[in-house]
């Protein structure tokens, strides 16, 4: 197994170091940092926007750039978190606590430097985890038949539901909504066009990029415009971005712990970078000999969550690349991007397209090194980006979104569909519904239907096949336990609270 990792990585490094790939990686991480810095624009919109541009590229080059946007955004998110106390990315929420306090004490530069170096260390550790664990998972996944694939997808989708914010029941409904919306268009096996209402364009189905742009681009911008514009006031002076020796001595252990927590959290399907950052910050506070100082500007409070969110951003790729399971909205987009380039995400990618698989992973080392350099040297540029006023920013983004959607299929109809999903996305925000499960269901739905159909065909319509195959039975059992726990535990907690209250009253 280790040999596979080593030789694969060596081949991948050759691909990643091709000049064109270094260049696109560079563009990817720069754009990623940019969207990470800008509050209100996330990696989902940026990846959707750039997808049409990658059509002409080789698949590996395209994926290197799109991946760079995602982990680059994790770096960029820390800049706004520290300087403005605004998380540019949701994963940077924990960084605002101590990072902004450090900035208020005049140590903004040190906080940014610690964020950059710990993100870098974590990025390398996370990528090493991808290198080491992927071949083993691929070996397991290669033996899967349609029944196991169905069980695996059910588990992955259920896990995504469990960790979504808010009520798991609503997240489950969002997931199913995504799956049924994914059936619009021509059914691959029977050739029947479904739910097209006589509209020719709908016979080809709804493009997932259009859905993502509508919900995340249009919907979020409308919601952003409702709030009064935040006054961007950079806290204090920035100072030197190179942390002192003391800072390093105080934070290296936190960086390592944060990296391991983030890497393990990101590896699980459904858990993203935010969960990793939260877990790492909490753990660091518990382990510290001065927990009361957390939140007043301690270096560990910046190092741990920044390490965790970046490590998780790397290991997030493991389920997608080895099992074909996207673990969130961004990974669902990456899955879609792979399919556009004719690659079906799953274990076959490593065996049949090793140059793509290892090239993408090796590029993460390159990308993280570039990001360290960019973040230590260009902080002042990013700060200036923050000063772009909304009346310039939003029209620009919307125009780019509209043209980007048009260029997917040279279809103005797609822009109309995106507008509909913009309204849908706005309704989601008003109803406090997390859109990620919908996007995952939308991307995975057709694959689920296809595998289910094949599994049923092989088993002659006997649904017990899912329980007779040991692997699929095991996966489904885990999924069932997750559902029971996530629906049951909150109810139980509510009853306990009510019982406790009534005893108090008595």
């Amino acid at each position: 197994m280790w040999e596979t990792s080593l030789s694969g990585l060596a081949g991948g490094l050759l691909v990643a170091f091709e000049p064109l790939n270094i260049l696109t990686c560079f563009i990817g991480v720069i754009l990623g940092t940019l969207v990470g810095v800008l509050p209100g624009v996330g990696p989902v919109v940026t990846i959707s926007l750039l997808l049409p541009i990658t059509f002409g590229m080789a698949p590996v080059t395209a994926l290197i750039m799109l991946a760079g946007i995602y982990y680059g955004a994790q770096y960029g998110g820390s800049t706004t978190a520290i300087l403005l106390k605004l998380p540019g990315e949701t994963a940077a929420v924990m960084t605002t606590l101590d990072g902004n306090q450090m900035a208020k004490k005049g140590r903004a530069g040190a906080a940014l430097g610690i964020a950059a170096t710990s993100s870098f260390a974590a990025g390398i550790i996370g990528t090493l985890a991808v290198v080491l664990f992927s071949p083993a998972l691929v070996a397991v996944a290669l033996s899967f038949g349609p029944a196991e694939n169905v069980a695996l997808m059910v588990l992955g989708l259920v896990a995504a539901v469990m960790v979504a914010q808010g009520s798991p029941l609503k997240a489950l409904a969002m997931l199913v909504a995504g799956i049924v919306l994914g059936t619009v268009g021509t059914d691959i096996s029977t050739g029947v066009a479904r739910y097209h209402f006589g509209i020719t364009e709908l016979r080809d189905g709804i493009n997932f990029v259009v859905v993502a742009m509508g919900i995340y681009g249009f919907g979020e911008i409308i919601a952003n415009l409702e709030r009064p514009p935040e006054t961007s006031k950079v806290t204090g002076t920035i100072g030197s971005v190179y942390p002192t020796r003391d800072d390093f001595r105080q934070s290296w252990a936190a960086t390592l712990r944060g990296s391991f927590i983030g890497a393990s959290v990101g590896f699980l399907p459904g858990l993203g970078a935010s969960a990793g950052a939260f877990a790492a910050y909490t753990a660091e506070k518990k382990l510290s000999s001065y927990p009361e100082k957390f939140g007043t500007g301690v270096v560990e409070g910046v190092a741990a969550p920044e390490a965790a969110n970046n490590a998780a951003a790397q290991t997030n790729f493991i389920p997608l690349l080895t099992l074909g399971l996207p673990s969130g909205a961004v990974m669902a987009l990456m899955a879609g991007a792979m399919m556009i380039h004719g690659i079906v995400p799953g274990p076959a990618v490593m065996t049949q397209r090793p140059e793509l698989f290892w090239g993408l992973i090796a590029s993460m080392f390159v990308g993280n090194a570039l990001l360290l350099f960019l973040n230590l040297n260009l902080v002042r540029v990013w700060v200036r980006v923050l000063a772009i006023p909304y009346p310039i920013l939003f029209p620009t983004i919307l125009l780019l979104c509209a043209i980007g959607i048009y260029s997917l299929n040279n279809s103005a109809f797609d822009i109309l569909i995106a507008a509909v999903f913009g309204l849908v996305g706005y309704v989601f925000i008003k109803l406090k519904l997390e859109p990620a499960p919908l996007l995952m269901g939308f991307v995975l739905g057709p694959m689920l239907e296809e595998n289910l159909r094949r599994a049923m065909l092989l088993a002659q319509g006997d649904a017990s096949v899912f329980l007779r195959h040991p692997i699929s039975a095991g996966l489904l059992a885990v999924a069932a336990i997750i559902v029971a726990l996530s629906v049951g535990l909150p109810l139980l907690a509510k009853h306990r609270r009510r019982a406790a209250l009534s005893t108090l009253v008595d």
Partner: protein, 161 residues
């Protein structure tokens, strides 16, 4: 005034019902249920088949029923009535109509008109731009995107009518 009347006249039960209807839980349940029903109703023409050979209708209709069931469950179980925040119409209508106008204009007239229409529409939606900024932004953004997309990236985008 209206507030007082409401408090005096409306029986507590009706008021509770109204508050419950406007809660995020109830509304999302209704939304999911309706979407599920739509997929069941409009999917009636597709052959369901059996498990051995699943027809085109089986998966979406089963999904529709599941969604309808989940939606009903959400309506029933959502006891805590978290009120929906009020809708601010200006950005919603402004952005959506700007985008729709762009979609309708871009293939017929071209980017030279569709671009400024979108930008001015969005600026009206933000309620912040001035006349001067609208003109400058329209000219700059439309020109830049007219150069980047059709020329550099080869997107067949119509610029002039």
């Amino acid at each position: 005034m209206a507030d007082i009347i409401n408090h005096d006249v409306a029986p507590p039960r009706a008021r509770r019902l109204a508050a419950g209807l406007a809660s995020t839980g109830t509304l999302s349940g209704i939304y999911f249920g309706a979407l599920g029903l739509a997929f069941i109703v409009f999917g009636q023409d597709y052959r369901v088949g059996d498990l051995r050979s699943m027809g085109p209708g089986m998966f979406p209709i089963a999904g529709g029923w599941l969604l309808f069931f989940l939606g009903s469950l959400i309506v029933i179980t959502s006891r805590d009535s978290e009120r929906v925040e009020p809708v601010v119409w200006r950005p919603l209508i402004g952005v959506l109509s700007a985008v729709v106008a762009f979609a309708l204009l871009v293939e017929t007239i071209g980017l030279a008109i569709a671009g400024p229409v979108l930008i001015v529409g969005v600026l009206i939606a933000t309620g912040q731009g001035t006349m001067r900024s609208a003109v400058i932004l329209s000219v700059v953004l439309t020109t830049v995107s007219a150069i980047i997309f059709p020329t550099l990236l080869g997107v067949p985008l119509k610029v002039f009518p």
